[in-house]
């Protein structure tokens, strides 16, 4: 029953952890190969899903953590006051996405993409623990560099930053791109159409 690598042991350890539990740490504690621990954790995760348990085991932010199943969110919400993360504003989400993809990045870097001052929005992201100062930009003197936190990974269900969907996926589609180009060019009259190839690209 208390076989070190058993499901029960892992369940018990996960149960008392209030942060993602790295498989490496469990492996060290139980003196087992990390691969075995990871395999057993995967199996537990699958078992919970198969048995339609009220909870699930997920790999997030560098470790494994137990969560409730999303199907029961409404009833949990009725019982406990939950932090509704949906309340991030559009502005905050934009700044967060720029920081997530461009980190480490200065506030000016975020401003440059958004075309608007992002100071207040970044402060609110720092306050919410989603973004933190990760250093100073040597070239720009003392400009603060921002990056995302482990809380960010947890809140967005990411194992690590490599789990971010590739930015290319979000490139505007051909039709949108075409319409932006056309509409900005349209007032110019026909001679501009020929210039299309000559447009310098900025990246």
């Amino acid at each position: 029953m208390s076989d070190p690598g058993s499901r029960g042991t892992l369940e018990a350890l996960l149960f008392v952890s209030d942060e993602p539990l790295p498989a490496s740490r469990v492996a060290k504690l139980l003196e087992l190969p990390e691969a075995d621990v990871t395999a057993e954790l995967r199996e537990i995760a699958e078992e919970y899903a198969r048995d339609e348990r009220g909870f699930q085991l997920r790999e997030v932010a560098g470790g494994w953590r137990l969560y409730t199943h999303p199907a029961y969110h409404p009833v949990i919400e009725r019982m406990v006051l939950t932090w509704d993360v949906r309340h991030l504003s559009q502005a905050a989400l934009e700044a967060l996405s720029v920081i997530a993809y461009h980190q480490p990045v200065t506030r000016q870097g975020v401003n440059a993409v958004r075309g608007v001052n992002s100071e207040a929005v970044i402060s609110s992201l720092v306050e919410k623990g989603l973004v933190r100062e990760v250093g100073r930009d040597g070239a720009q003197g003392t400009a603060v560099l921002y990056g995302t936190t482990r809380t960010f990974l947890e809140k967005f269900g990411l194992k690590d930053l490599s789990g971010l969907p590739p930015l290319e996926e979000f490139a505007p589609d051909a039709a949108t791109e075409q319409s932006i180009r056309e509409r900005l060019n349209a007032l110019e009259g026909p001679e501009v159409d020929n210039d299309d190839d000559a447009i310098p690209t900025v990246d």
Binding site: Q90, R114, V116, N117, E154, R183, E188
Partner: protein
């Protein structure tokens, strides 16, 4: 929820706005028509008027953003070196720059939508956070070894008195920014235990105007937070502050 939906349509910056305008009408980059854009705003506000004053005022905020567009020749000055000399660009080059900027911005706007969706689905899962059960708590290393309750109290009192000295310095020595948070904390502390206070207790006669203003702001902020209740029985009468949860008629 309706408000929230409307709010997502609110522009926040020049690029956001331009992207929107581009989607609706033709925009000449060399000569962005301020009139046209202003008309656009007015139309929005007309539509919003019955809906939500907050939304309307956000649009007004945008009007000033537009002025910024004009003033900064479409881009905030400090953002991109290449854009500082926008005047030197040919209209075609300027247009191309703007197109690229809009495309990049659009890309992140799309990414932000994905983030919103992810956050929404993550919010439906609640992590196990109960932590250690009692029998294990005693095993935890004693991080507080050698620390006494008295010791903690002294540290906290020192910090608070340090803060007061800082306040005095701020008032007397230099035009340092006055922290609203510090004053909120002070009012909160003042009320704690006593239950109620008069405005005059916080701001003695002859206090500098800045202190009166920041104290009032701190009170309003605390009122907003629900930390206290405010009563004033007569016009220009004494203002009473009542700690939240304390009976106001006592």
């Amino acid at each position: 929820m309706t408000t929230y939906r409307v709010r997502t349509e609110v522009f926040e910056g020049p690029l956001d706005l331009l992207l929107h305008l581009v989607g609706r009408q033709k925009v000449d980059i060399r000569e962005i028509s301020f009139t046209e854009i202003a008309d656009e705003f007015i139309a929005h506000i007309e539509r919003m008027r019955d809906l939500d004053l907050d939304v309307a005022s956000e649009f007004l905020l945008l009007a000033s953003t537009l002025l910024e567009i004009k003033a900064a020749a479409l881009f905030p000055e400090d953002t991109d070196l290449e854009l500082d000399d926008l005047d030197d660009l040919t209209p075609e080059e300027a247009r191309a720059l703007l197109v690229e900027r809009l495309l990049v911005y659009k890309q992140f706007k799309n990414a932000a939508a994905e983030f919103a969706a992810r956050m929404e689905s993550e919010g439906r899962m609640h992590p196990r956070a109960a932590g250690l059960e009692e029998p294990f708590l005693r095993l935890m290393p004693d991080y507080l070894e050698g620390v006494t309750l008295r010791g903690l109290a002294v540290i906290c009192a020192d910090l608070e008195y340090g803060r007061e000295i800082f306040l005095l310095e701020a008032e007397h020595v230099a035009a340092m920014p006055i922290s609203l948070e510090l004053h909120m904390e002070s009012v909160r502390q003042g009320l704690k235990g006593k239950g109620r206070l008069r405005f005059g207790d916080l701001v003695p006669a002859g206090a500098p105007a800045e202190l009166v203003v920041v104290t009032l702001l701190a009170i309003l902020e605390l009122y907003k937070l629900g930390a206290l209740d405010v009563r004033q029985d007569a016009l220009f009468g004494e203002i009473d502050l009542i700690e939240a949860g304390v009976k106001s008629d006592v």
